[in-house]
């Protein structure tokens, strides 16, 4: 579905069904250098089980026009504006599911519009979400090399079953190709922003997590990968305590949507029920 948000065209995948703003809404927010397609299976399930689904392409990613927003806070405001553009009700109906960078965006959404967010699910998250200087430097100077590094750290197995989004897909290859596509898509528009470095810098700079946690009023679920090398589960204890969050651990690396789609669905069904 195409929308106009903050004066530019924005895209949100609706799970294969027409968007109905009167239904309880689930917003899926992707992470760095990803797009809506990391949520396809989950989005389709929720859209076919009584929900209105918006799996957004963040500005400058996928089919949403830029410019890419330079902070987690600005990205949260952008999604809240997207909800307005989609006609989503203002009161407590919205469930936010964010992955990695998207989980921080969800945290800020819940803090900025506590009356609007009914549940926050933070998938593959950590706070602070610091990125090593070496990786930031590689992302700036050699983004395709950095993609390969991140891809290697993001997936914990050589055989995630069932493959995502269907049998016969090679997760390492598809995650690498998606990151390259999102990066190249931005470059193809003539924009000089290195989206990889941009997104990782957004994660690295975000410093409002503790203050945001104080503003959050909705229930929060953290869904973490036991083998996650990008956002280690060890780095979530403080955040979980501040949010009084329930924590669910899955046998997965950082790419939980692709590595453990059934388990993640089960966790989200329970969380968002």
């Amino acid at each position: 579905m195409k929308l106009t948000v903050e004066g530019a065209s924005a895209y949100a995948y609706t799970g294969g069904k027409a968007f109905d703003a009167t239904l309880p809404c689930v917003v899926f927010v992707h992470g760095a250098l990803h797009d809506h397609s990391v949520w396809t299976l989950l989005a389709r399930w929720f859209a076919n089980h009584g929900h209105a689904v918006l799996a957004v392409d963040l500005p400058g990613h996928g089919q949403s026009e830029g410019p890419a927003r330079g902070s987690v806070e600005a990205l949260a405001d952008w999604i809240l504006a997207l909800l307005d553009a989609a006609g989503v009700q203002q009161s407590g109906q919205v469930r936010v599911v964010g992955h990695s960078m998207g989980s921080l965006i969800g945290l800020e959404m819940a803090a900025r519009a506590p009356q609007r967010i009914g549940h926050l699910a933070m998938v593959g998250t950590a706070y602070p979400m610091k990125v090593s200087a070496a990786l930031l430097d590689t992302a700036r100077q050699a983004p395709f090399k950095a993609i390969d590094m991140v891809n290697a750290f993001s997936i914990s197995t050589l055989a995630a079953k069932p493959s995502y989004p269907g049998p016969g897909m090679w997760l390492h290859g598809s995650n690498r190709a998606l990151m390259r596509r999102v990066l190249q898509g931005k470059l193809a528009t003539g924009c000089e922003v290195n989206l990889f470095h941009h997104d990782f810098s957004v994660c690295d700079r975000y410093a409002n997590g503790h203050e945001a946690a104080q503003q959050v009023q909705c229930p929060v679920t953290l869904i973490l990968g036991q083998q996650d090398q990008m956002t280690s589960p060890k780095a979530t204890a403080d955040l979980a305590a501040r949010l009084k969050a329930r924590t669910v651990m899955l046998a997965s690396g950082h790419s939980l949507q692709a590595e453990a789609p059934d388990e993640l669905l089960a966790a989200l069904r329970q969380a968002l029920a």
Binding site: L158, P162, G168, M169, S174, L178, G185
Partner: protein, 432 residues
């Protein structure tokens, strides 16, 4: 960095797509000879059919054993995924039929395997898909042959029968300038030798019957998607970028940014044409792939030894192997295929068609049959078999001489192969 997170080729050949079976602990990939798979509940069934979950329903569409093969070949080729098919021909048909329909057009290399040429020039033409054939080395001809209704460009990494090396960087650039994908048959160059995706190819297929299987036991194909081609941006592929009535109005490019082609190919082409691979076949090809790096190194070593002997033999007029300086693709081969130009090549005997027959009949280790890529060495004399109805003039137009012999070099001791060939060459000489 080496290790489980970022494994090398040889490790992927053994492990990609497979872990010990969680139910039985079986270390080798189990053969799931089951047509169908039990649903956990009615809701589970509905969600599988509606692509709300990933999983197996019916083995024509997908199967756990076959899926391991698909993931493994995708990993080795550098793709996002793959579909295993009943044969290499079925893989080619699946690729073309997913992207093209009646009124559409293909630009293809003129140096193709005969079966591929038949499919494009005769069979698909009957269904409204036409093909223009161009010399594989003529980049301008590829560009000039593209029409508004063209949907893909297609060539073989090593053309038939002369082993013309396809300049994939150049031809893929021509394709991409026109918003079209390049499909490549890489059967003669398994990924240990060459990965076309790294050089710009968008889709790659293999007759897995050949080197991937490697033992001459099964027939199968695998079609790999690079995930690099932007089907929506091209504007030429509404089959992928607009709602598909055959699957609840699904828009494949929205469902998967990098896997749209494979989703459509599986949910339409495999579902409706049905040219799927048996799980038993998939298992045998997996067995072959586990030793692919070792076998290909030996294939290449043996081929180089045989080529060197033949190139120096007085009864041999020409050896068509691109590593030789006189081959038309020598420079391209040096650039694109540094690990070797495969283990299938042809050479010309000095002499008549009858001397060619004498050569074939004197061989003892080489088996006379119509296949390549076996672990055993193979030979065929086109003038007395596949092309026997042609006179010498017609043979010449096909790039085949009366004494042209095609060899597929196996894994035997190189010295034994050379001895067998030398003895047969002597027999041919005596038959003059």
């Amino acid at each position: 960095m080496p290790g489980y997170s970022d494994p090398g080729f040889d490790t992927l050949a053994l492990h990609a797509g497979a872990v010990p079976d969680p139910t039985t602990g079986a270390r080798a990939v189990p053969i799931h000879l089951s047509t169908s798979f039990v649903f956990q509940s009615s809701e589970h069934a509905a969600s599988l059919f509606n692509m709300e979950r990933s999983g197996h329903v019916y083995s024509r569409i997908s199967n756990p054993t076959t899926a391991v093969l698909e993931e493994r070949v995708a990993a080795l080729e550098g793709g996002v995924g793959a579909i295993a098919t009943a044969s290499g021909q079925a893989a080619l048909h699946l690729a073309v039929s997913t992207l093209a329909g009646a009124g559409h057009h293909v630009v293809a290399s003129s140096a193709l395997y005969g079966g591929s040429h038949n499919l494009l020039d005769y069979t698909l033409r009957r269904f409204g898909i036409s093909t223009t054939f161009v010399p594989p080395g003529d980049v301008a001809a590829w560009r000039a042959a593209i029409r508004p209704e063209t949907r893909l460009l297609f060539g073989e990494t090593l053309g038939n029968p002369g082993l013309d090396v396809l300049d994939i960087p150049a031809i893929s650039a021509v394709a991409h300038e026109a918003g079209l994908p390049l499909l490549v048959d890489s059967t003669f160059t398994p990924p240990w030798l060459y990965r076309p995706i790294d050089h710009g190819a968008d889709l790659v297929f293999h007759s897995a019957t050949k080197f991937l299987s490697g033992h001459g036991t099964v027939v199968g194909g695998v079609l790999v998607d690079s995930g690099q081609f932007d089907w929506a941006a091209s504007g030429r592929f509404p089959e992928l970028s607009e709602p598909y009535d055959g699957f609840h109005g699904m828009v494949f490019t929205e469902e998967s940014t990098v896997g749209a082609f494979l989703l459509r190919a599986r949910r339409e082409g495999l579902r409706d044409f049905g040219a799927c691979m048996s799980p038993h076949t998939a298992w045998l090809i997996l067995q072959g792939i586990e030793t692919l790096p070792l076998r290909m190194a030996r294939h290449i070593d043996n081929t180089r030894a045989v080529v060197a002997m033949l190139a120096a033999h007085p009864m041999v007029a020409r050896v068509g192997y691109p590593e030789l300086p006189g081959h038309p693709s020598h420079e391209l081969a040096s650039r694109l295929l540094p690990k070797g130009c495969g283990a299938v090549f042809s050479f010309d005997l000095k002499g008549t068609r009858q001397q060619g027959v004498a050569f074939i009949e004197a061989l003892k280790l080489f088996s006379h049959l119509a296949n390549v890529g076996d672990c055993r060495s193979l030979v065929i004399h086109p003038a007395s078999t596949t092309h026997f109805r042609m006179d010498d003039a017609a043979l010449a137009r096909a790039g085949i001489g009366p004494g042209t012999i095609r060899l597929s070099i196996g894994l035997e001791d190189a010295a034994d192969l050379i001895d067998d060939l030398k003895r047969a060459l002597k027999a041919a000489e005596k038959a003059a």
